[in-house]
């Protein structure tokens, strides 16, 4: 059975692009468009992976990450932060929040995302 990924991304255009990448490697994707919705979705039906943007309305990706890593239903789910915030401080904030990877949205993003999925054991 295909693994399910929860993508938390407020931009519909970017969500569409990331969804295509994830589906191209055989993953099933659900999308949440803000942080609280993402947390609800993850807790109610825990996915195999969360791909999380940082800049989100209502609650930023760091807070979402911290909450998911504290909740018993979701704490073991790997989280990849995929974001435009590329500074060292932003990266360390994401990793300290419990993210398993922190990938800048740049020209290498797709390649890094797929490598990360392999390393997290989600792809052959």
């Amino acid at each position: 059975m295909a693994l399910e990924v929860l993508l938390v991304e407020d931009s519909k255009t970017q969500a569409h692009q990331i969804r295509e990448t994830l589906e191209s490697v055989g993953l099933v994707v659900r999308v949440a468009y803000d942080g609280p919705d993402g947390i609800r979705e993850a807790v109610n039906a825990p996915p195999a992976l969360v791909v999380l943007d940082v800049k989100l309305p209502t609650m930023d990706g760091y807070q979402v990450c911290r909450r998911l890593k504290m909740h018993p239903a979701t704490r073991n789910i790997p989280i990849i932060m995929l974001t435009e915030k590329t500074s060292a401080e932003a990266t360390m904030t994401g990793l300290n929040a419990g993210a398993d990877d922190y990938i800048p949205k740049d020209i290498f993003a797709t390649e890094h995302l797929i490598t990360s999925l392999q390393e997290l054991g989600l792809l052959e």
């Binding site: 590329t86 500074s87 060292a88 990266t91 360390m92 994401g94 990793l95 993210a99 398993d100 990877d101 922190y102 990938i103 800048p104 740049d106 020209i107 290498f108 890094h112 490598t115 990360s116 390393e119 997290l120 054991g121």
Partner: protein, 132 residues
């Protein structure tokens, strides 16, 4: 114990902001080749990007070298560059750079030779290794 350099040996020229992205990518590759976990690769990429930003903010250009380093049974990734641009920085800015980089790697060394060098090392400790 003497430190020895080992593969991989990768270098990135830092000349403009686009090179920061390349440096970040190269750091991830170097860290991946040594067996660092995904989160450590992200951390090392951030450290290299921060160093590249310092070079460009100083109005300089430079080359960042990344290589494996061995000390006895311990291996790690060493990131280094010549840093003639350090002379143009205030001591406060150098301290700030040191503090910022220290949050991302195990060792930050600024050697005041001619030319000065900046060297960072991040050791591949068991919790930092990619899980088989």
């Amino acid at each position: 114990m003497t430190r020895m350099n080992m593969p991989p040996v990768l270098s990135v020229d830092i000349e403009d902001t686009m090179d920061i992205m390349i440096a970040r990518d190269t750091a991830r590759r170097a860290a991946g080749l040594l067996g660092f976990s995904t989160s450590c690769k992200a951390q090392l990429a951030a450290a290299v990007a921060a160093l590249a930003e310092v070079i460009l903010k100083a109005g300089a250009e430079g080359t960042i070298h990344m290589n494996g380093v061995r000390n006895g049974s311990k291996i790690g990734l060493q990131i280094s560059c010549e840093a003639g641009w350090l002379h143009a920085m205030s001591s406060h800015a150098v301290e700030e750079m040191h503090g910022k980089l220290s949050k991302m790697v195990d060792e930050v060394e600024v050697v005041d030779q001619n030319p000065p060098t900046v060297s960072l090392v991040f050791w591949l400790l068991p919790p930092r290794q990619v899980k088989e």
